[in-house]
């Protein structure tokens, strides 16, 4: 681990075989140095006892045995004897050399002794009694000549083909295993898998301490190797079937699922590189070390969001490892350039590393191991898998879920923030795989297409975000040459509107507003006008009334004057006509007179 880092990976002895922390055991154990196997067995194979490794053809028995010897000799200072019944010394050396083991060198330095036992049935005739003392002599000689602590017998069962008398052979095998125990060597005996029993010739009957079963299965044209510790007398061990693979550095078993759910967690929040998205996530972004799923149909901008996230992290000075299963690094860099993301300088500064591989390149386990190796080597703060779904196609549903679980566990243990993009088919947004995977994820962002009005628009929303308040709103997601922007989508009676529909709706609303404003003004003017008219009418009426009132006053004055004049006249005439009708005629005559006047 050259790079400074505080994260602690559980499986980091990828290349070196330094001792994993073995739990306290009663049974003394012998570290194999094989990555993962020592974890499963809780510290290695039983010390000084034979272990049976059985499996079908081509499942890696010989390799496991050879690695046990090579690592013993090279790392633990325990010389070993390889008694090969099937492959010659030359073949063995060549075979393991391809895995980076210098068997020839170890043989030269007398750390490993190879004895090739060649037997053919046709050559041997038997007559009378015999025993296999010759085998014992050879083995003893080999062990003593280099002071071996480890012994591999590969594959002992060949003897059944060459020794005609099975009774003798069986009793001699029993003696051999006893003898190996007495000799105090840790032995690995390989055997071919039998049809009904564990091994073809029932070797398990002699080896009772530890049995490891290897298996090589093909599902959907993809092969997976599995390892299972079937029996381990006197010790706790993982009983599951663990996938393993044969890589450039030998065998690695992946016992990641054995980890409990006890990751250290962080309350630190990290920005996504999209301010509006941060705002949707309680204003601060994701938790460090959390797992994020980004689901979307094709072309919704998953890679863009991922790249933004990557850029933001790298600009903070964090290391980002970007696994791409669809695009080459240069393609991503070019494409992101078009939206204003400059990834290349970050790659040059060593903050961003791309790793591209076609999902069909190799099996799921191989992918996983490759990822683990890359992660262990680069020690990233952020890991992006784009898209995880194409990788999941490489295995069955349960396998791929197991893989994602292990990956997430592994990343969480190292407090690495992980972003997985997931491609869904159009239409059904929540596919089966997502639903299964989502339970493993802390946060889930959904990118979706809205189609309508002859266009497609992207929206983004937060489906879940464990441990933080998050927005329930759908945001429209705009991609321009300046990057990503999130805008509020229009939500109204007619549903969610995005894109030009959102713009159109805005314009429509503006127009409506304007129209109603105009209408109000119109109405106001109308009212004003009416009021003016009314007032004018009122003043006209008033003036009419006033003129009439003036007339009335004038008439009244006239009448008064006339009455006065009449009175005086009547008095004058009464005086003239002896004034006897003074009382009766007075008023009547007066009214008649008034009427005729008006």
């Amino acid at each position: 681990m050259a790079k400074k880092n505080s994260t602690a990976f559980p499986v980091r002895h990828m290349t070196n075989g330094h001792k994993p922390a073995a739990p306290r055991t009663l049974l003394p154990k012998c570290l194999t140095g094989i990555q993962g196997l020592d974890e499963i067995t809780g510290g290695g194979l039983p010390l000084g006892r034979p272990t049976l490794v059985c499996g079908g053809a081509g499942c890696g028995k010989t390799l496991l045995a050879a690695e046990f010897l090579v690592r013993g000799a090279a790392q633990f200072g325990e010389p070993g004897v390889l008694m090969a019944f099937e492959e010659t010394e030359k073949e063995l050396k060549a075979n393991v050399a391809s895995l980076g083991f210098d068997l020839a060198g170890l043989v030269r330095r007398k750390k490993i002794f190879i004895d090739y036992v060649h037997i053919e049935r046709s050559e041997a005739h038997e007559s009378g009694e015999y025993d296999l003392e010759g085998l014992f002599v050879r083995l003893n000689h080999a062990i003593d000549s280099i002071g071996a602590k480890r012994v591999v017998l590969d594959t002992l069962e060949v003897l059944f083909a060459s020794i005609p008398n099975e009774a003798i052979l069986r009793s001699e095998l029993r003696r051999l295993f006893r003898w190996l125990k007495d000799k105090g060597v840790t032995a690995v005996i390989t055997a071919e898998r039998g049809r009904e029993q564990l091994t073809r010739h029932g070797l398990e009957e002699y080896v009772s301490d530890c049995v490891i079963v290897l298996d090589h299965r093909v599902n959907d044209q993809i092969a997976t190797r599995n390892l299972r510790v079937m029996k381990y007398r006197g010790a706790l061990h993982g009983t599951n079937e663990f996938p393993f693979l044969i890589g450039e550095e030998g065998i690695s078993v992946l016992p990641i699922t054995s980890l409990g759910l006890n990751h250290k967690i962080s309350t630190e929040r990290i920005a996504t590189g999209i301010p509006r998205l941060d705002a949707m996530l309680g204003g601060k972004g994701f938790f460090r070390g959390s797992s994020i799923l980004l689901t979307g149909t094709p072309g919704t901008g998953k890679t863009i969001v991922s790249s933004n996230f990557a850029q933001a992290a790298a600009l903070r000075g964090e290391r980002v490892l970007y696994f791409s299963f669809e695009e080459s690094p240069n393609q991503i860099i070019r494409n992101m350039h078009s939206i204003g993301l400059r990834l290349e300088p970050l790659v040059k500064r060593g903050l961003l590393r791309f790793h591209s591989a076609r999902p069909s390149l190799y099996g799921l386990e191989m992918h996983l191991a490759t990822m683990f190796r890359e992660i262990a080597a680069f020690q990233p703060h952020v890991v992006i898998m784009d898209p995880i779904t194409s990788l999941m196609d490489a295995g069955t549903a349960s396998e791929s879920k197991g893989m994602v679980t292990r990956l997430i566990d592994y990343l969480k243990a190292g407090q690495v923030t992980s972003l997985f993009t997931s491609l869904t088919q159009g239409g059904h947004v929540l596919q089966q795989s997502e639903a299964a995977m989502s339970s493993l994820m802390d946060s889930w962002l959904l990118l979706q297409d809205f189609e309508g009005n002859g266009e497609r628009n992207r929206v983004l929303y937060v489906l879940k975000a464990r441990g933080m308040a998050h927005s329930n709103q759908i945001r429209e997601f705009l991609i321009s040459d300046r990057g990503i922007d999130l805008v509020d989508a229009y939500i109204g009676v007619s549903g969610v509107l995005t894109g030009s529909a959102r713009v159109a709706q805005g314009a429509l609303e503006k127009a409506a507003l304007l129209a109603s404003q105009q209408e109000a003004a119109q109405l106001k003017r109308e009212v004003e006008r009416k009021r003016g008219a009314l007032e004018r009418k009122i003043s006209a009426l008033r003036s009419e009334y006033e003129s009439e009132a003036a007339e009335l006053r004038r008439i009244a004055e006239q009448v008064g004057t006339r009455t006065m004049v009449l009175g005086t006249e009547r008095v004058a005439s009464g005086l003239l006509r002896q004034a006897d009708a003074k009382v009766a005629a007075g008023p009547r005559g007066k009214f008649r007179h008034e009427k005729g006047n008006s």
Binding site: A124, E126, S127, E129, L132, E133, V137, N140
Partner: protein, 111 residues
């Protein structure tokens, strides 16, 4: 290789005939089985190959490294080095017929 000729060369090479048979007997110590095997082998050789054979007895207790050369597993083992091809027979040689077949002595017997 220093196989110890344990027994005196009990063979006289008969000129004119084919090369003498070279037989190796691998044993572990002087166990009864080993001694029986040696005695039986001598008996056969005297009966069928008189004067045309050599027996080397190799004690793996003293020379364990020699076991690898002839691919010895079972004890006792007789290896016919000459004439070619190499033939191997394991056991105390108590089954006469099998020895005759195994060492291909029958062909010599008949004519």
């Amino acid at each position: 290789m220093k196989p110890r000729p344990k027994t005196p060369p009990a063979s006289e090479v008969v000129p004119g005939k084919a090369k003498p048979w070279q037989l190796r007997l691998y044993v572990m110590d002087q166990t009864p089985k080993s001694l029986t095997a040696l005695a039986n082998l001598r008996k056969f050789c005297e009966a069928h190959l008189k004067g045309r054979y050599r027996i080397r007895v190799i004690d793996l207790l003293k020379h364990p490294h020699l076991a690898k050369g002839d691919q010895i597993l079972a004890i006792p083992t007789v290896v016919r080095k000459l004439p070619k091809p190499v033939r191997t027979i394991i056991g105390t040689l108590s089954d006469t017929d099998r020895v005759l077949v195994g060492l291909d002595l029958r062909s010599l017997e008949c004519p």
